[in-house]
């Protein structure tokens, strides 16, 4: 401590001085200089070098300064608060001196942009990083769990096909892509014009879509499309994407339990959550490649989709909002991607085609076990 010296940098301001031993209020005076603080209390003036200041807590209209020997100063004086900032005792917080509404606007916009960026690109990067570490056994379990959820919630059993037209059709495609891994094809009797793929190599085809098919190109297009989802692990990616989104949201709201819930409820998540448009395009491309390799019309899938979408086709502009590309786009892609599809010998015999169209015939070749 030096003798009483009058610093010139700032004028004195009232502070409360506490010694850490008693709660007695002691009035003091504080002067802020670039290299030191001057505290005067009970007629004694003390200089604290800048390095001796242990910490400063700043709130709106209030500052608390911790000094050695448990001495603490508290002040609400505006001049002191300003001087602490001006002389760099407290870090300059961005926009700290802006009006509250300006700060709120800036932080809200920053958070919004950050979240949008994370949702758009961050989750994709996170999925790409984590996908290689996702064990195939777990994918298998998740696929089974999704199937169980589907059967329970729709009260419609799915049947594993160990032989028959669908099985042999799948095997023809598998022969073109030996890296696909084991694929299980199942049929549901529901009159739904749809099919879906699940992690673990599961494909579920509804009788409804088999009924509306008009040729084998449509059948192979559909099966290859679903195999495309399996080849590119779209189901697992969807799940991981949802988990990352849940994690980021959980971090924000302080509750990350949604991540585990989502993984546990993966069955419903997978069946109810649609693929995004890019994944559909990827699966379409895979289907077109398969059809071309088989020497068939690459637009088979698009024709089938055009028929089942009927009046519900949304058109180009509304497709932007949808999880699927428009049928027109899919037709164009199929034609443009691999033009000049050649005619080749039929893939199915007339008897096989008829058996596919007949639910009873199809059922004959089903096995109960999965």
């Amino acid at each position: 401590m030096s003798a009483a010296i009058s610093p010139s940098e700032s004028s004195g301001a009232p502070v409360q001085v506490f010694d850490g031993e008693s709660a007695t209020l002691r009035a003091g005076e504080l002067r802020v200089a670039a290299d030191s603080l001057w505290v005067t209390c009970a007629g004694v003036s003390t200089r604290f070098a800048r390095l001796e200041v242990l910490g400063i807590e700043l709130q709106r209209g209030y500052a608390r300064i911790a000094l050695p020997e448990r001495v603490v100063l508290e002040t609400t004086d505006a001049n002191v608060l300003r001087a602490l900032g001006d002389y760099g005792y407290v870090p300059t917080v961005p926009f700290a001196r802006s009006p509250v509404w300006v700060r709120l606007l800036i932080w809200t916009a920053a958070l919004g942009l950050l979240m949008a960026g994370l949702f758009t690109y961050g989750t994709q990067a996170a999925v790409a990083l984590t996908l290689p570490f996702f064990p195939p056994e777990l994918e298998q379990k998740i696929g089974e769990s999704a199937l169980e959820w589907f059967e329970q919630n729709h009260e419609a059993p799915v049947t594993n096909l160990r032989e028959g037209v669908l099985r042999s059709s799948i095997e023809r495609i598998e022969a073109l892509h030996p890296d696909l891994g084991p694929v299980t094809v199942l049929v549901s009797d529901l009159p739904v014009e749809n099919a879906f793929a699940l992690p673990g190599g599961y494909i579920v085809v509804f009788q409804g879509i088999l009924d509306v098919m008009q040729d084998e190109d449509e059948l192979f297009g559909l099966l290859a499309h679903e195999l495309g989802h399996i080849q590119h692990r779209h189901g697992t990616k969807r799940l991981l994407r949802s988990a990352w989104l849940a994690f980021v949201t959980g971090v924000l709201i302080g509750d990350v339990t949604a991540v585990s819930t989502l993984l546990i409820d993966s069955g419903s998540t997978l069946v109810t959550l649609a693929h995004d448009r890019d994944e559909e395009r990827e699966a379409d491309r895979f289907a077109a490649e398969v059809l071309q390799s088989l020497g068939r019309d690459t637009a088979g899938l698009a024709r089938l989709l055009d028929r089942i979408s009927g009046d519900f086709d949304m058109g180009e502009w509304a497709a932007w909002l949808s999880s699927h590309p428009s049928t027109d786009e899919r037709m164009r892609n199929a034609a443009a991607f691999l033009p000049g599809a050649a005619a080749s010998p039929p893939l199915l015999t007339p008897e096989e085609w008829l058996s596919l169209k007949s639910a009873d015939a199809c059922l004959c070749s089903r096995a109960d076990d999965r």
Partner: protein, 336 residues
């Protein structure tokens, strides 16, 4: 630097014995400042994938504490981010086991998961009591006023076991023992709370509280929450009104609260619209309104003079209980 800066406190003599004093707590924070903190915390939490969490929590605590004033001075939260982080590590294993264990077990064995859920549910109820006490112990130990520390004495084990027993009793007696449980928790905490050499005590009568607690819970339930607009203010006034503070010289002051159901209803209604109409963005303003409302209804009156409180040696405590309490949602941001 020498330590002659602060002159010794004036000696207390019978002639200078304090006259009755009246203290009224005040909250200075604003919803805008709190939202600003929450937004920047959110940005940093997302950018660091949650690693910023201890610092975010610290900012929240400091805002709440440093904006609460009594006797012309503000509270101070002295905890550190490092403590909060080490506390988080301590309870992380439990959180993972408790929250995710049974769910992940369902993938392997649904029956095992059901059994584990029941066990963890009971264990969770026990840990809830522990967390209730430990979180308060930590927050009080890191709270100072005029650099004099608060401290929660008592045994965490004793509190946890007794409170758990009352809770079990309440669960199996259709709320009959619930007032005892609630009373015990409040009583134990305030009978063990200190501020330097000032001791707090709770002189409520559990038998007198029983009708209020028992019928209040049932009527709240039966009226789908409507009765809570009468019940909550009465309980608050009861809790606060039976807390007494006494210093080493025998000077005593009593807290009092006068929350009226109509005011309480207006507060809650306002908060509801504030949150609903802003899609949640108004939550910080609702929180600030709550704090201002409750604090503005509390008084401390008597011969106790905060000026005369002195520091005494105190035991330390960790942040683990605070984080566990947070995960189990034991509540009490300002530990009241």
């Amino acid at each position: 630097m020498e330590t002659t800066l602060v002159a010794p406190a004036p000696e207390v003599t019978p002639e200078t014995a304090p006259a009755p004093k009246d203290y009224q707590p005040v909250f200075h924070g604003t919803g805008g400042d709190l939202l600003s903190i929450k937004l920047t915390n959110a940005i940093l939490m997302v950018l660091t994938l949650g690693v910023y969490f201890p610092w975010a929590r610290l900012r929240n605590y400091r805002f709440l504490w440093s904006n609460t004033e009594i006797g012309g001075s503000r509270f101070r939260f002295t905890g550190t981010a490092r403590e909060i982080f080490s506390g988080f590590v301590k309870v992380a294993a439990f959180i993972l086991l408790f929250l995710y264990g049974p769910q992940l077990l369902t993938l392997v064995s649904p029956v095992g998961a059901a059994v584990a859920s029941v066990i963890l549910y009971v264990l969770g109820a026990w840990l809830y009591q522990f967390a209730y006490f430990a979180s308060r112990r930590y927050r009080y130990s890191r709270t100072t006023l005029r650099e004099i520390r608060f401290h929660l004495d008592g045994s965490a084990k004793e509190f946890t076991n007794q409170a758990f027993a009352y809770l079990l009793g309440a669960a199996f007696s259709f709320y009959y023992l619930l007032p005892r449980y609630l009373h015990y928790r409040w009583e134990y905490v305030f009978n063990n709370l200190r501020f330097g050499n000032v001791r707090f005590s709770f002189d409520g009568d559990r038998n007198a509280f029983w009708p209020l607690g028992f019928w209040g819970q049932w009527l709240t339930l039966l009226t789908l929450g409507i009765y809570s607009f009468w019940y909550a203010p009465r309980v608050f006034n009861y809790w606060v009104g039976h807390v007494v503070a006494t210093d080493g010289e025998g000077n005593t002051s009593r807290f009092s609260a006068d929350v009226q159901p109509g005011d309480f209803f207006r507060l809650k209604l306002g908060n509801f619209f504030l949150i609903a109409l802003t899609l949640g963005l108004g939550a910080p303003w609702a929180m600030v309104r709550n704090l201002r409302f409750y604090l503005s209804h509390i008084r401390l009156h008597g011969t106790l003079d905060i000026d005369r409180a002195i520091q005494i040696a105190l035991q330390d405590s960790s942040a683990g209980g605070d984080l566990l309490g947070d995960q189990l949602d034991v509540g009490g941001d300002l530990a009241i």
